[in-house]
């Protein structure tokens, strides 16, 4: 892979530091996420009330945690707005990346993990704190759930990264990647459980999303694990699903990137 552990950590820390300079933007994002947290909480609580106390197995406190952890994770998982690679493709700078002895996939991954780390300290902790203060939060009954939640979040970041990377790679073929980005963002937002829990959708819809798309693994997965939906069996199944998508994601990225490099070499970009 061409990258040793120390170099990887150095890149991660660089990513962390870079994102820590965007103070104003982070503050604005935290504020906005929190406001939307309030909006969603009230609506979903009303849904639970209207459904007689619980909707599709989610009761009030579970929904509260679902919303606020979800809002917190938006920044960590970064559901939209990542165009670093596509920008470099557009300007031609990406050639420098591909000429290095290190696979750019890993360097970008390291930077993204740094970013996720910073986001965890700011964009995750603050909204969760707000939710805890104002609403009745669900707390997991099993200690294993906390551990599984952490693992699941890490996997979610990886799945999201591979998907974002794939979308950015299309910049090698498409001149204007804006349309694809918009569509990708739409899907990531709507189908990952951000607007409402996926389990609200009809069964067939839900199954297609879980098994055939990586989106639920990006957000819904860790949230469901936290609210202990269905029991330990379900939690483990969810994590396995995420793992599968991580493998698929990285394989796809590697394959597409090789094709992109090939295109560059043969066609001269």
């Amino acid at each position: 892979m061409g990258l040793d552990v120390r170099a990887f950590l150095a890149l991660t820390s660089a990513g962390f530091r870079r994102w820590s300079t965007y103070r104003q933007a982070t503050a604005a994002a935290v504020f906005t996420n929190s406001v939307f947290g309030f909006l969603k909480t009230y609506v979903l609580l009303a849904v639970a009330l209207g459904a007689g106390g619980a909707a599709v197995g989610y009761d009030g406190p579970m929904l509260v945690s679902f919303v606020w952890l979800g809002q917190g994770l938006i920044g960590v998982v970064m559901l939209w707005g990542w165009t670093d690679l596509a920008d470099r493709v557009r300007t031609g700078d990406v050639v420098a990346d591909l000429l290095r002895p290190v696979n750019p996939l890993w360097t970008y991954l390291a930077a993204d993990l740094g970013r996720a780390g910073y986001a965890t300290l700011t964009r995750f902790l603050i909204p969760v704190a707000v939710g805890l203060v104002y609403f009745d939060f669900f707390l997991p009954t099993r200690p294993a759930s906390y551990a599984l939640f952490t693992v699941s979040v890490a996997l979610a970041v990886l799945v999201s990264f591979t998907f974002r990377y794939l979308v950015n790679l299309t910049a090698f073929w498409l001149l204007d990647v804006r349309g694809v980005m918009l569509l990708a963002q739409l899907m990531m937002g709507a189908l990952s459980g951000l607007y409402l829990p996926i389990r609200f959708l009809p069964d067939w819809c839900e199954n297609v999303l879980w098994y055939l798309t990586p989106f639920p693994s990006m957000l819904q997965a860790p949230l469901d694990i936290y609210v202990e939906y269905g029991g330990i069996g379900t939690q483990l199944a969810i994590v396995s699903g995420q793992l599968a998508w991580v493998v698929v994601g990285f394989t796809a990225c590697g394959w597409l990137q090789r094709r992109a490099a090939w295109k560059l070499v043969i066609q001269g970009g």
Binding site: Y22, Q24, A25, A27, A28, A29, F31, T32, V35, F36, F38, L39, K40, Y42, V43, A46, V47, A48, L49, G50, A51, A55, V56, D176, R178, G179, L182, L183, L186, A190, Y195, L196, F200, L201, P202
Partner: protein, 282 residues
Amino acid sequence: MADASRGADIPAGADSGGVLSAYTRLLVAQIRSQTQYRLSFLADVVSTCLMSLLDIVAVLVLFRVTPALGGFSGRQVLVMAAMALLAFSLSDLLVGNVERLRFYIRTGLFDVVLLRPLSALGQLLVIDFAPRRTGRVVQALVILAVALFLVDIDWSVARVAILVVTPLAGSLIFASIFVAGATVAFWWVESGELANAFTYGGRDFTTYPVSVYSGWFRRLFAYGLGFAFVAYYPALFLLDVPDPLGAPIWLGWGTPVVALLAMTVAACVWRTGVRHYRSTGS
């Protein structure tokens, strides 16, 4: 910033029409330059339509799971959602591009705006006009028509009047929030996202009945920012359904008043923002 003497020095023989003509020409030029990128334009129209469709789909999905929301049935909430969507789409069409203020300040192009004999806000609204947003307005109209068809409304002159006036007045309320929110850029250029909490947040808020919310949050959004008047009270009037929160039914007529108030406040905030920009550079 007293622009009172604007008309005093126009040379006799200026035959190019009034100030309105200037804005109209700018608008037409903007539309022409947009349609230069035809494929992008089409893709934009499609994706913006999909995005606003998502709001309605969300409401429908919620009602799969529960028979009532805040004491209202699915069809009733659909009427509120549709009215809110129409008001929002209209305001987004007219004023949505004021968010570009951030870009103009950062690149120094706002100075160019200040060097023309037109109002700064007027120019901003017209310069980046996005004709693709008309698709959303049409779509919202269709959805509203369908929603009204699904409910039983006892139509009267008053109700028709409310139906016509509310989306327009409601869009002015949203527009005021848009402008006031964009003004934040004069003080903090990087915090553009802040305004989204109230513009797009407002849209989400108005999609559902106010009875869903509670506490200081409801008081702030529904009454403080006036969002309850965008769709909720007018819808109650149309549907002839009493407010679970006990407000009188004639509040449905309050939308134009609230709109006027909102515009006044937004205008003041804007003036303050421009004055601040001109006293501190950027």
